[in-house]
Symmetry: C2
Subunit: 563 residues, 2 copies
Amino acid sequence: MAFVVKKNIRGKDYFYLNENKRVDGKVRTKTIAYLGKIKKEAEKKASEILKSRERKIDKIVLVKDKKTDHKKGTMEKKNISIEELTTFCKRKGFVYPSGEIYGGFAGFWDFGPLGVELKNNIKKLWWQFHVLSREDIVGIDGSIITNPKVWEASGHVSSFVDVAVVCKKCGNKTKIDKYEVGKALCEKCNGELESKGEFNPMFATSVGPISEESIKAYLRPETAQLIFANFKSVYDNLRLKLPCGIAQIGKAFRNEIAPRDFLFRSREFEQMEIEYFINPNEEKCPYKIPNVETFIYSEEIQKKNLEPIKMRIKDAFEKGIIKKEWHAYWLATELLWFKSLGANLENFRIRQHSKEELSHYSSDTWDLEYKFPFGWKELEGIADRGNFDLFQHEKASKKDLKVFDENSKERILPSVICEPSLGVERAFLVFMFDSYFYDTGRENIVLKIHPKLAPIKAAIFPIVKINKDIVRISHEIYANLKKEFNVIYDSGGSVGRRYARNDEIGTPFCITIDEEGLKKKDVTIRDRDTKKQIRVKISELKNILAKLIEKEIKFEAAGEIFE
Amino acid sequence: MAFVVKKNIRGKDYFYLNENKRVDGKVRTKTIAYLGKIKKEAEKKASEILKSRERKIDKIVLVKDKKTDHKKGTMEKKNISIEELTTFCKRKGFVYPSGEIYGGFAGFWDFGPLGVELKNNIKKLWWQFHVLSREDIVGIDGSIITNPKVWEASGHVSSFVDVAVVCKKCGNKTKIDKYEVGKALCEKCNGELESKGEFNPMFATSVGPISEESIKAYLRPETAQLIFANFKSVYDNLRLKLPCGIAQIGKAFRNEIAPRDFLFRSREFEQMEIEYFINPNEEKCPYKIPNVETFIYSEEIQKKNLEPIKMRIKDAFEKGIIKKEWHAYWLATELLWFKSLGANLENFRIRQHSKEELSHYSSDTWDLEYKFPFGWKELEGIADRGNFDLFQHEKASKKDLKVFDENSKERILPSVICEPSLGVERAFLVFMFDSYFYDTGRENIVLKIHPKLAPIKAAIFPIVKINKDIVRISHEIYANLKKEFNVIYDSGGSVGRRYARNDEIGTPFCITIDEEGLKKKDVTIRDRDTKKQIRVKISELKNILAKLIEKEIKFEAAGEIFE
């Protein structure tokens, strides 16, 4: 059946001749022709076209195209569960259970086309902020399997041990500390726990295919030790000066008894980590503490059962709540990174470890925590590790790991004053949760993610597919932008449908080429978050898009506002 | 001892008061003051300074500073062995043996600060070229450990088997095919081989810490299967259309019996891979074959014991030497990628697998090979895999993996017409070998690596450390450039020493701030490869540097030539 459709695109009417056809058992609508802007002329033209195609005129009905109408509605923040996020990520091609066609594999996930771009952007922006833009930090990339003596020296082989337990009542599997055996009860139902024996969460494997010569080795359970083992070579080869840091991004593996909460606790994950070294006799931090505010949950506040207090990190340091300046500096720096990429700091807090909770190597630890739908959970622990690790490796390797400190003119074993260590997947979850909005008018999800993080920076639409000039120019613009940005060409379905689809995957800008633009050599850019539109010259588009992505200019100031 | 030094910097004389001091048992030279450009005045000023510091005037000798003189010499390509490259990489902080303080671990390597930047640049530029800039390819990032049924279906568990052998005469360890047992002799000395049993090069591990419930799983020996296992979800979620590709960069592991040749054959490595899918009934390639020339080593040429023939890939296809257009397209595209990043195509060839050599799943395979110091070796195999893998997974998972093809309007199981699969570390070696030059004048290595690949894009020098204005402006320029590029600030040693040090690590541009520049608000940029210098306004520096890195402008055209 053929019919005339009126589409209202930004306040103006456009008429099209459409046709329904049955393909593969499904009804598909195809646009046969664009009929102009005036109703009478459109109906006349439609009759002519159908006659010329020697087709029976079924009926010419005027249909108002609902999809492209501007619907009024509000943009609401939506708090979703981790299960809802998992489903969303799978449906849109962000994350799949690994080996899904075989039922998945607990604790392992594959990143799909949108997920890999978001993850790469997170890693790239972390590296840019923490390594490339700083004078005092360099990077390394250690291997996942290294000499097992590294893990003997660090204590992971002997002490990194938990006890697997199963609840006799509800069957819940979990792990407990070995000192808790016989004391701890099930966290879910208070039932009695049955011990299934001690285990080391390091995945073991055998290196060397000739069995009598093979060596038991481990998949690294953390990236930190690769930094310590390489510390002296890196310091000397790169002529570093204290204070300085070594950063690393890479995979780590832990054989969790109960992987859960989607990407939050998986068996294979990726860390972004810095070990920051100082001369232990010189604890003064030469950098200003960045000006950020957060909820402070000190040991004292926790013991008194009080609520965390909102204040500037700088003030918390000056009031003595955070004892070390370096600690305050790194906590604020990490919060600043999240803030600079659009995370909502209202969902963050910093929590001090109690004395009982502290690792044996740490004299003070603050966790950066985020309010997940399943509770406040650690994003990164920022520990004062001292020189525990370098000392262990010096002892075990019998190599002198001391380095020359330019300032004090002495050879010393540096201390790790801070160890910001963030899971890539946890940052991924933070940005997904904080940007998940719902448009009540269009009834669809809007992922208000920072343009720098967005997997796709812009979608280019021809407003109609049947005008050859529009399609040609759209393709040219697409090809030109694609050299520099990850953009897509989208011509499927109504303009409204295309907006909705791109809102859902977080594409910050939609670029439309219409008839007016053909004449004026301009395009419209539509902003995902405000739905405002501006007109911009094609010759300036690349430059303006680059600035919009970097948030160097305000959207409204980037072109002529267009309703 | 104090003494006056004359430095000749680009044709002009500058005088400095220097002093030798013994620090930590080493003699170090320190500059006390800049004395101006005229010899007599300089000596007078030197006496005054030494008097004012109430120091005994040891002696004022005029020393000509040799290091900063322009030495004449040629830039020679240097062919080095893999061992020499290994030593160079270690010394400059590119690559270290993993766990080196414990003697390393055969087949595992850690990338140091310069190595991680080069490796990241290779990966980023590969992804940009193969994924982001193309309309037909999307990426994924699968996990290293996945459901082991993936490896059962692909045949890796049952058929990916070799026999470990040790030569009874020379002790050389290697692997042979199981059909060669009792037939093959030692490749080194023709000695008799002793079998040490069959082995599967997949590293195995145990997933799940409760032993009676744990599952034997594998570290992936290739990235390809993660693409096949996710194929249908990716195709449907992303609304792909055939022909199209799915790309992945990630680690893979093989338990090699004899890891060797530095990064060439290691046990942990990284692949950059595309599986390119077509409708098996539609083999026409819609893209033009890129215009590149290489040495063609077809099966026929090999059998006739002839030399490879140099010709354009396009011509090899038209003459029927390369049978499939898609194959020719991808071989040329891969060569183009290497060429676009400065690799020397004279060191490349493409070699066809003989019928006996073909894998069971492939109907035609061409290897892209590179002339390593240890012989012609494979960089990437480009196989026509057909639908072997999707078929295996469909059978094993009992899931329908067919997808809808828009063109033929039918549901089909696509074929993999090409599988370009390149090792990141092998590309790393190619770029290192091809850019390794030697400056006979300065007597130092010059790493003539493409600026886009270079770990550090520019070094910023104050020409003298004792002029506060120069130091301040140098720091400002450094801080400003650092926001966008990986640049370093280098004020250690003579200017000549700083040039040499940066040439060695491949820094393409050295930016010097001198007294003339202070007045004129400009700097000099020195080109690593030609040693030419230009003067450029500070206000234009960022823009010009960006264009120089991208090779969008010629160096000589970027500013005023300066001798």
